[in-house]
């Protein structure tokens, strides 16, 4: 690993993080709830270390191998979360370091699981930062760094690739910097539209921003204990529901939309499958919970909100779905594992991977009937490389292995299997709430520090699609070259 270059990169990243804390500092100055000093200290510490790292070391070479790029992506998220936890600890909002780290990881990875039992009494600046981490983490910090900073190294595209979810990575524009700028412009634009909608629906600006951050990053932190349910406003629930669905769509679709290119959108198989799954699941859940609510439109509203919240891996809540019939809960659990489209801000295994797996399973089935038939798996009208299919299979196995071994470890201290299992699934998929002991009205405070660190690891693994985080444990990566 080219240490000097990596340190320099981390330095730039910390400087960036310090700058990203400024809006929260401004919020704390407006509301004056005693968290201003904490932000000043956090910014000072982060910026100082950032300056030291980025200006003291002069790398001799500016090359970064693909393997190093992956590991750097993993490392930067670990470090970012660490410094992101500073405002929580320094303000006394979350005194315990492990708790604060869990909360910061949950923020950056856009999970939305919390260890806080009581949210509403926290200072507004801290809550703003907590939700802002969702917005930063949604599109990716490295992508952001690539977009605004002059190029650090000629070979940065694998950094962005490590951070952007999906089985394959494709640039929208020839230059990485331009692609990153374009993605952030779309992200920003869509967020702006949502904030405007929420303001029109009657939210105040602060709440509107907090919930936009939560939706855009598909995170799910709210500033109310009852989440979106606290507003008792069906219009707000529909708006957030629709936007959760929209942020689960591949951003390339919006890119083509802006450029008025019809064909690629019509051809986007993944998006159409994703939207159909949302539709069908909403209807199924509606039917399943209808007896509980009586009125069809009430049931439909709750069903749509919960389905989009879970499939987009956001995790906002309007009601306690832990009380729903088993079928509805089981369906939500499946959606939780699948997640939304590749190239969006959502987590989970991703619709395109599920699609590829089902297609290759179907082909193999066909193959047993007609062994000599040559068949090609296609996605969005293009033949998929066999190597890509193999990678998708391996990815799924790794994902399942993490889920199983995670459950095993968490069950050491949990008395309920469903709690342990869904706690692992929801963190690995970056959703937020699980079932039973970690259900929508519960939280993760009861876990031991060791379990919290394990769950933080799973959140990072889920957000970065496993490899960048696993690579950090490979001694080979740390060897000097």
């Amino acid at each position: 690993m080219n240490y000097k270059l990596v340190f320099r990169l981390m330095g730039r990243l910390l400087l960036m993080e310090a700058a990203l804390m400024l809006p929260s500092l401004a919020v704390s100055l407006i509301f004056r709830q005693g968290d201003t000093l904490a932000f000043l200290e956090a910014i000072a510490i982060t910026a100082t270390i950032g300056v030291l790292l980025s200006f003291l070391l002069k790398p001799e070479r500016d090359d970064l191998t693909a393997r190093d790029g992956m590991a750097v992506a993993g490392l930067s998220w670990v470090i970012l979360s660490f410094f992101g936890a500073l405002p929580f600890v320094l303000s006394g909002a979350i005194p315990h370091v492990v708790d604060a780290y869990f909360e910061a990881v949950s923020g950056f990875t856009t999970t939305g699981s919390t260890i806080l039992r009581e949210i509403e009494h926290l200072p507004k600046g801290v809550l703003f930062w907590r939700s802002f981490t969702h917005w930063i983490g949604g599109m990716g910090v490295l992508v952001f760094t690539l977009a605004v900073l002059p190029k650090l190294s000629g070979r940065t595209s694998h950094l962005a690739r490590a951070e952007s979810p999906g089985p394959t990575f494709s640039k929208l524009l020839p230059k990485m910097g331009d692609t990153a700028k374009m993605l952030y412009a779309l992200y920003f634009g869509l967020s702006l539209i949502e904030t405007a909608c929420l303001l029109l629906a009657g939210m105040n600006l602060y709440d509107a921003l907090i919930h936009t951050f939560g939706t855009a990053g598909t995170g799910g932190f709210s500033n109310y204990n009852a989440s979106v349910g606290a507003f008792h406003n069906p219009l707000i629930e529909w708006i957030i529901g629709v936007f959760m669905m929209l942020f689960g769509i591949n951003f390339a679709v919006y890119f083509h939309l802006v450029r008025k290119e019809k064909e690629p959108i019509l051809q986007s198989e993944e998006m159409w499958i994703y939207l159909s799954i949302v539709l069908v699941s909403t209807l199924l859940v509606t039917v399943s919970i209808l007896p509980q609510y009586g009125a069809f439109f009430t049931a439909l509203r709750y069903a749509f909100f919960q389905v989009t919240s879970i499939i987009s891996t956001t995790g906002f809540g309007t009601t306690d779905f832990n009380l729903w019939p088993l079928f509805a809960r089981a369906l939500l659990l499946l959606l939780m594992c699948m997640g939304a489209c590749a190239g969006s801000t959502a987590g989970g295994i991703k619709t395109s991977r599920v699609l590829l797996l089902s297609k290759s399973a179907y082909r193999d089935l066909e193959h047993t009937i007609q062994p000599r038939k040559v068949a090609v798996v296609r996605l969005e009208g293009k033949a998929v490389q066999e190597s890509t299919l193999a990678q998708v299979g391996v990815y799924l196995s790794l994902w399942v292995a993490l889920a199983i071994s995670g459950t095993l470890l968490v069950s050491l201290e949990s008395s309920d299997f469903v709690t342990a299992f869904t706690a692992v699934l929801t963190t690995l998929s970056n959703v937020g709430p699980g079932l039973n002991g970690v259900g929508p009205t519960e939280n993760f405070a009861a876990f031991s520090p060791a379990a919290k660190l394990l769950l933080s690891f799973l959140m990072l693994a889920g957000r970065l699609e496993i490899y960048p985080i696993l690579l950090l444990f490979a001694p080979h990566v740390w060897r000097k070259n």
Partner: protein, 453 residues
């Protein structure tokens, strides 16, 4: 500029690297998934897997908004068709690599009919450069400017040469008989230096001088490097370059023999080149070389497709005392090794093609007047020699050079006015229509105006 490169072979990849470095938006199309995968990691460009003649692939690469399409696949026909398709789909400018001798006579007709804006034949250009090098055996390379009136020649300074050990400013006071040429660049080790008045040439330096053709010739005669003429040439490898080269050399009344290992290829060459002796055999076989008279030949040129074979055969010939050895190598890393081991004349088809296309891209991307007309890159691009034609309306016209601020690390080497070549001094001016040759260590100059601050 938005540029599409079709074909990720040696030329395509090398071009893409240079163009990305110069800040262009590059999209590469290749039919091989492995090429796409490999390059994606190392280059900030977009890669599309597909065929460059397919309209769908070209549309995916956004051809309708593209400024330049460069077709550089192995097949001439694919290149031509790709350019035609791209142009019909809305590309602004197309460049095709067409190198098969079959198309030589119909090229201008094809270019017009297929809307190819610029056709390059790197093999032929390479052959032309080699034939030039044979006329001046003492030189490592010869580049021409101002329609051939000006030449830039490099030679290796040796112990005892009258130019060694004297500061530049006293060069012509000490050597009164020496014809006045301009010392424009010196390669020392891995460094390239634009010499100033205090600079002293050391033995082993590769010195580039520039002047008009006649002065250059007299300069080398005065140096004692003379014009030992080459009358017999042995060529190893019957490639396309060999075909173009041998036809040129035969016209120059030289005695040429070509060694080609493949029987059918040798037969085809014998048919096409009746003036030359074609030998079927392995050019790396030393016994064969000896029996065909290597010791008596004046020049040995290795043109096989394998760099390593060229290199070994080249070393052998040099060791056997052949006066002029020219080695073809497309790998940039080899050339410094070869220079260190005493082989000065290295020629790279890839570099020749690359320089030519880069120049076209630069002159098209420059909106300013007086865009670059010719360009050569020295030492893998550490310095560049560029030719411009001064245009009316630019600020530098008719201003004495001493009143113009030239950017650091650049040098105005010669000015050619109405056929007269002049090494400029402070009181000289640049006038409309002058050819101006500039040597610069700053890469990426695309117009004459950029030379002045």
């Amino acid at each position: 500029m938005r540029i599409i490169i079709i074909g990720g072979g040696k030329l395509g990849i090398s071009l893409a690297h240079h163009l990305v470095d110069e800040g262009h938006n590059v999209t590469m199309i290749d039919r091989s998934e492995t090429v796409v995968q490999k390059s994606m990691d190392t280059m900030d460009a977009m890669f599309i897997h597909g065929s460059g003649v397919s309209a769908n692939t070209l549309k995916e690469a956004d051809v309708q908004h593209t400024d330049i399409v460069i077709a550089a696949t192995v097949s001439d026909e694919v290149n031509m068709l790709a350019c035609l398709t791209a142009k019909r789909l809305g590309a602004q400018y197309t460049i095709a690599r067409i190198r098969d001798p079959e198309y030589l006579n119909t090229l201008s007709f094809l270019q017009k009919e297929l809307s190819i804006d610029y056709a390059i034949n790197p093999e032929r250009a390479t052959a032309r450069e080699i034939s030039r090098m044979l006329r001046f055996p003492f030189a490592g390379s010869i580049e021409t400017f101002a329609r051939g009136r000006v030449e830039m020649v490099d030679f290796r300074a040796a112990e005892g040469d009258p130019v060694v050990g004297i500061p530049m400013k006293e060069m012509y006071k000490k050597n009164r008989q020496l014809p006045q040429v301009l010392f424009c660049a010196v390669e020392r080790g891995t460094e390239i230096i634009i010499p100033k008045g205090d600079f002293i040439i050391k033995p082993g330096d590769r010195v580039h001088v520039v002047s008009d053709v006649e002065t250059i010739t007299r300069f080398f005669t005065a140096l004692g490097k003379g014009m030992s003429t080459i009358r017999s040439v042995m060529v190893m490898g019957g490639s396309k370059i060999a075909f173009y080269l041998v036809s040129m050399l035969v016209r120059m009344k030289m005695k040429v023999s070509v060694i080609e290992v493949k029987k059918d290829k040798a037969r085809r060459l014998a048919d096409a080149l009746p003036g030359a002796t074609i030998i079927e055999g392995d050019g790396t076989d030393q016994e064969l070389l000896e029996s065909e008279g290597l010791a008596d030949t004046h020049a040995f040129i290795t043109l096989s497709d394998r760099d390593e074979e060229n290199l070994m055969a080249g070393f052998y010939a040099a060791q056997r005392g052949v006066k002029k050895v020219i080695v073809k190598s497309s790998r940039d890393t080899y050339s410094s090794i070869m220079h260190n081991m005493g082989l000065d004349s290295i020629i790279s088809t890839k570099a020749i093609a690359c320089n030519d296309i880069l120049r076209v891209v630069r002159s098209r991307s420059s909106r300013a007047n007086a865009a670059v007309e010719r360009m050569y890159r020295l030492m893998n691009g550490q310095a560049e020699a560029l030719e411009f034609i001064a245009q009316a309306g630019d600020k530098y016209i008719h201003v004495p050079l001493k009143d113009l601020k030239i950017i650091p690390d650049a040098l105005i080497a010669v000015i050619v006015r109405e056929g007269l070549v002049k090494v400029p001094f402070g009181n000289d001016t640049i006038e409309v229509g002058d050819y101006v040759v500039v040597i610069s260590r700053k890469a990426g100059l695309s117009a004459l105006g950029q030379v002045f601050r």
